[in-house]
């Protein structure tokens, strides 16, 4: 049977340990909500209506040089609370941090029709210029010149200098030992304010729509690469 689960199927083994990653979305210090108004670093007020991104290729970094990795593809969606809890299985061991990609690796961008989290029907795939949208936000702001004051940032592109794929490393405060049949619970905060400020600040008035690969998309990806913070990591019974 094929599964529609967002978690890729893997062989069940007795000697695995799991890592559960719990994501919390914020804007600065405030909890994210589509009901609230926020103000970005350019002083522009806006509301959000969409926030989705891919987290893939999870690895645990150990004291040994070998990383424990697993084929894992998740689509996180602010509107789907369940999508903010990710479960990944790893080999037991002692680890110092978590590594993953924000976006979809280039192999999956060039391998034709995919299923599960990578199914093109999730609205995260460009049909006219093949490739996944790594992350997107949409919303409204009085400063946007677009119809209905709409703004949209669909960030993607996996080639060359405008590659938007980001490797995220979250270091644990201290090395953690993950035993079999145990679960490592990790709390991660994603701060959407980072989309707007970084090496090049983003102004909604100046650029209300970015929906193709290129320099502009790359700039936003350079900004949001910094959005994740590890809040807590501890081992629990599963």
């Amino acid at each position: 049977m094929l599964s529609f689960s967002f978690i890729k199927k893997e062989t069940l083994r007795a000697d695995i340990a799991t890592v559960s990653i719990h994501l919390t979305h914020t804007f600065g210090a405030e909890a994210l909500s589509f009901e609230k108004k926020f103000t970005n670093s350019a002083g522009e007020e806006f509301t959000l209506s969409k926030f989705k991104y891919y987290l893939t290729n999870f690895k645990l970094i150990g004291n040994s040089s070998k990383a424990a990795s697993v084929e894992s593809y998740f689509l996180v969606d602010e509107e789907q609370p369940d999508s903010k809890k990710l479960i990944v299985s790893f080999e037991p061991g002692t680890y110092t941090g978590l590594r993953f990609l924000l976006g979809v690796d280039s192999i999956r961008n060039v391998s034709g029709a995919q299923t599960g989290a990578l199914d093109p029907l999730h609205g995260m795939f460009w049909t006219w210029n093949t490739g996944y949208i790594m992350a997107k936000i949409e919303g409204h702001s009085p400063v946007s010149r677009m119809p209905g004051n709409f703004f949209e940032y669909h960030i993607g592109g996996f080639r060359g200098e405008t590659n938007t794929l980001k490797q995220i490393d979250l270091k644990f405060p201290q090395a953690l030992t993950l035993q079999k049949n145990r679960q490592l619970k990790i709390q991660v905060q994603a701060d959407l304010a980072k989309w707007f400020s970084g090496p090049v600040d983003l102004s909604i008035a100046a650029k209300p729509s970015i929906t193709s690969p290129g320099t502009n998309a790359k700039r936003i990806a350079d900004n949001y690469a910094d959005m994740f913070t590890l809040m807590d990591a501890k081992t629990n019974e599963p």
């Binding site: 094929l2 299923t115 199914d119 093109p120 029907l121 049909t127 006219w128 405008t162 320099t215």
Partner: protein, 362 residues
Amino acid sequence: MKKTKSTISFILLVTIAFGLMADSCKKKDASAYNPTLETLSVPEGFPAIAYDFNQNPLTKEGFELGRKLFYDGRLSRDGNFPCASCHQQFAAFSSFDHSFSHGFDDGFTTRNAPGLFNLAWQKEFHLDGGINHLDVQQLAPLTAPNEMAETIENIIRKLKADPDYPGMFKSAFGNDEINSQRLLRALSQFMVSVVSSQSKYDLYKKGEASFTPYEERGYTLFKAKCASCHTEPLFTDLSYRNIGLPGIPNLLDAGRMRITNDPADSMKFKVPSLRNVVLSQPYMHDGRFASIEACLQHYTSGVVNGPTVDPLVRNRIALNRSEIVDIVAFLRTLTDTVMTKNPRFADPESKPIFSPDPEQHD
């Protein structure tokens, strides 16, 4: 003792029962999924196939499913626009006599529909090469608001509700699940199977046909003046080039640059195959020329030079009127009616128009 014995018999019974169940499941599966594997043969002189059949093994069942889907209007939002509405078999699967093709809500496409054949030898799709795999190309026309304008979710819903499709998906893929990957892969199986390699030119190359003096002279001229881009045997080198077409009002199409963002690619489009070229009029990415002669005249006297115009056409191509006649005669040998009339590629629901019907003569 008795109790132990009955326990053992019970365990035995359960084991046997489970064994039987497992066995019958296996048998049922085996009888249900037994697709007929097919091999796409490489015509003599053709390069190796680019399409990856390891991911999507070609089967009779997959091909037939793809064929039905290709001709099914329900893949479009209002039911009027199957793939075949813009890709007509008699026009070598291009849009006959249309510079742009009709789409949903009186929409028009913004580029001339290319003929669909020999796709198994291509790695990039669309005139700007923006699509890197045939399986995902289909998402573009299926969802574009000016083409079929449908969502993948709706297509899957319509196919699931159909009396025939679930069974066809089961025969092609092992169970009746219908998802986007299977839909796209089935369509690919049909499309890669359309091969054009049986024109008069192909017979000539095999020594099974001879050219007229016009065709012979045209072939010699073609090899000297056209073949560096329209390379045999596909009659395209699959590169992107700007051939110096002057801009036309209300259509700003940057071509390949739209994909690469590289100004060096401005106004470049994929070199089209010239196989079946007489069937696919009008010509160029925007269908601006109604005849092959007009295309050739562009190369002799119409090229407008700009920074990205191809060095091979910058100085124009010298051809006199009789040479144009000869080249056109040669291009006519590239028509493959074996493909355009092959009932295997036709609408599975249509009846052959010209098939002999003894009853009618009574």
